[in-house]
């Protein structure tokens, strides 16, 4: 069964510091991989996605993620965080069948920014 693990429940970083949020997945084949961000009281916004090809994926708001098949990981990175990046971040995995496809979400990592 597919699953997603985000081992860090809450991370605090200083503004301007670099960020890495961890994500590990379990899936029988190469899945689709996603990172979403949820600001307080808002819906989820897609930051980036991996389907195939280049394992380093660029997203919106200066985020990037790297797919490492050998480690079953898809960690999210940003070189310099801004106070507006404070939010909940969700890693997700989806199947490649177009029908009956569903995305399974990790439990989320809450990011706080220290001024």
């Amino acid at each position: 069964a597919q699953s997603v693990t985000q081992p860090d429940i809450h991370i605090t970083v200083s503004e301007g510091a670099s960020l890495e949020l961890r994500c590990n997945y379990s899936y029988g084949a190469t899945p689709y991989l996603f990172w979403y961000v949820q600001s307080p009281g808002q819906g989820l916004q897609l930051l980036l996605k991996y389907f195939s090809g280049d394992t380093l994926v660029q997203g919106i708001k200066g985020f990037e993620a790297e797919f490492k098949r050998s480690q079953s990981s898809f960690n999210l990175r940003k070189p310099s965080v801004h106070w507006s990046d404070a939010a909940e971040y969700f890693c997700a995995v989806g199947g490649r069948r177009s029908s009956a496809s569903k995305i399974i979400f990790g439990s989320g990592t809450r990011l706080s920014i220290r001024p």
Binding site: Y32, L44, K49, A100
Partner: protein, 112 residues
């Protein structure tokens, strides 16, 4: 234009009542979903419709009944509301498996 819109945004109701949440997408997507987000922010899929056909029906009490009158709309009706139904319900849509989902802004349901 909002891509995926849900109404209402907030819903406060008493136990035992019946309520509906509506969702509409104007993206031309063929698949729509309902997710439930609990108080710990955990997101769990409830239902999925592809071109008006139910394709995913997770372990959800049969008090919850989705209805898709056309591929742009997916409504969620809940009968006999219970305290444990309090959560944020998100509608989402996608085109196939690869596009990722576009989410609505959520409906916060509070059962008192």
């Amino acid at each position: 234009d909002t891509a995926v819109s849900q109404t209402p945004k907030y819903l406060v109701t008493q136990m035992g009542n019946d309520k509906s949440i509506k969702c509409e997408q104007n993206l031309g997507h063929d698949t729509m979903y309902w997710y439930k987000q609990d108080s710990k922010k955990f997101l769990k899929i409830m239902f999925s419709y592809n071109n008006k056909e139910l394709i995913i029906n997770e372990t959800v009490p049969n008090r919850f009944s989705p209805k898709s009158p056309d591929k742009a709309h997916l409504n969620l009706h809940i009968n006999s509301l219970e305290l444990g139904d309090s959560a944020v319900y998100f509608c989402a849509s996608s085109q196939g498996a690869s596009g990722g989902y576009t989410f609505g802004s959520g409906t916060r349901l509070t059962v008192v």
